[in-house]
Amino acid sequence: MGNAVVKIFGMPNITEAEVDPENNSIFLNGTQYHVNQLSLEPPVSGTIYGVLLNYQGAFHRYRKQMTHSPYNEPPKAPILYIKPINTLSGYRSPIPLPEDADELEVGAALGVVIGRTATKVKEEEAFQYVAGYTVVNDVAIPHENIYRPAIRERARDGFNPVGPWIIKKESIVDPDSLDIRVFVNGKLAQKNNTKNFIRPVARLLADITEFMTLYPGDVLLTGVPEQAPLVKAGDHVRIEIEGVGSLENTIVHEADYVKGAVR
């Protein structure tokens, strides 16, 4: 038993383990390992759904445009998108900077991992369907226009590192009040808190499962805060979410990208 599940490279199954999110370490067979001593795979394998403009600051940045063409009116339902399987990668896997992009936007997102098949879930019962939480870097090529689905900008290979583990939901008292910090090359580049969600976790789950089923292992990315840091090849990114853990990855030129490689 432990407070988290991890997927260690070479092991057939995900493993329960006791982890310490504050210093990113795992206890295995009584020994404490820093995650950098282990090879970790993404702890999830389901479908990954993102929510756009779920932070108040991110939403307000678009508010004026929302009453003009092509948007015409503010959104009613959560704005959702899918991060397909080719985007999935793990802790310390490199993130490729495509040749047609100058820089990438860091997407510091709390990932909600689904534990039970969830259809038409009531807001007050939503947490029964949650297995836990993880840290996700919902990488994107910066784009202002959000009228059409941003497949070219969001669905590139390796654009969705997840890890280092899934913290079980019992360890997180309130997912709607967690500090999120992004460090680029060791320097604080962004700070926000999930209390700034427009739709808190339970409300998102209710609104989304009203029309589409989420399955065990699916991940819901709860949004990216405003003023996302921009990064270039060579930059090291660490996303810390209070009580959940820290996800680290380095940006590399696409030509140097090998999926699963560790840098």
Binding site: T47, Y49, L52, L53, P70, Y71, N72, E73, P75, K76, A77, I79, L80, Y81, I82, P84, I85, N86, P98, D100, T119, I146, Y147, R148, P149, A150, I151, R152, A155, R156, D157, F211, M212, T213, L214, Y215
Partner: protein
């Protein structure tokens, strides 16, 4: 060869079409009515194309796009032949979309259009329903319109690529309660199958079993509870769905 995935007696089988019967992988022969039809491909990444037929783009008052309008679908939407799809109560316009679905056969990245068919496993028929009432202008077509549970029947068969010499010249037809309501030809696609594979693989990896729904011609009309909707593509199959 035409291949299906079916369930019978608590087991999932692979089956091939044999003179109107289904031959299961344990060699038993059964009829189409003996089985529950599953999607012929277990869905993973599913792409869909908006406005990929000039006549349909015009019907929806859009100019034909200069770049493919691609969106993604989750596995929750995919159901098989003879499935049922729920029309939400209190909506005014839900329509079918008959589409040729291309199934990818091997990992593909930076594929040239001239070599694209090497990466195709086969084809099936898709009916990609939409509820227009829920359209919003953010990442449009938004998931509430296109990614509802059981909104994308596919099947009945996965037809081997080798059996379809020219997928870019196939007649598509939709019938609602037996009446022909939509008719087109895949030759009128704006972005052809090879162009779509070249486009997608120019910036991302396609994997075995990925599905590309290539868009629908004009003729979208509203459907109602109780309607039987048949989407049919020449040489590929006839996919039956019922609105509940």
């Amino acid at each position: 060869m035409k291949r299906a995935r079916v369930a019978m007696n608590g087991t999932i089988y692979e089956a091939i079409e044999d003179n109107g019967f289904l031959q299961l992988n344990d060699q038993h022969k059964v009829t189409e009515k003996d089985v529950v039809w599953l999607p012929p491909v277990s869905p993973r990444t599913v792409f869909a194309l908006g406005l990929n037929y000039a006549d349909h783009a015009k019907e929806l008052s859009f100019h034909a796009p200069t770049e493919p309008l691609v969106f993604l679908k989750g596995p929750n939407t995919i159901v098989g032949h003879r499935s049922e799809t729920k029309r939400p109560p209190d909506v005014d316009f839900m329509h079918y979309e008959c589409e040729l679905a291309v199934v990818i056969g091997k990992m593909a990245r930076n594929v040239k259009a001239s070599e694209a068919y090497e990466y195709v496993l086969g084809y099936t028929v898709a009916n990609d329903y939409a509820v227009r009432d829920y359209l919003e202008n953010y990442y449009r077509p938004n998931l509430r319109v296109k990614n509802r549970d059981a909104f994308t029947p596919i099947g009945p068969w996965l037809v081997d690529k080798e059996d379809i010499p020219d997928p870019m010249n196939l007649v598509l037809r939709t019938y609602v309660n037996g009446a022909l309501v939509q008719e087109g030809n895949t030759k009128d696609m704006i972005f052809t199958i090879p162009m779509l594979i070249e486009y997608l693989t120019s910036f991302m990896t396609l994997n075995y079993g990925d599905i590309i729904l290539t868009g629908t011609p004009k003729g979208a009309v509203n459907v109602n509870v109780g309607d039987e909707v048949i989407t049919e593509i020449e040489g590929i199959g006839r996919l039956i769905n019922r609105i509940i």
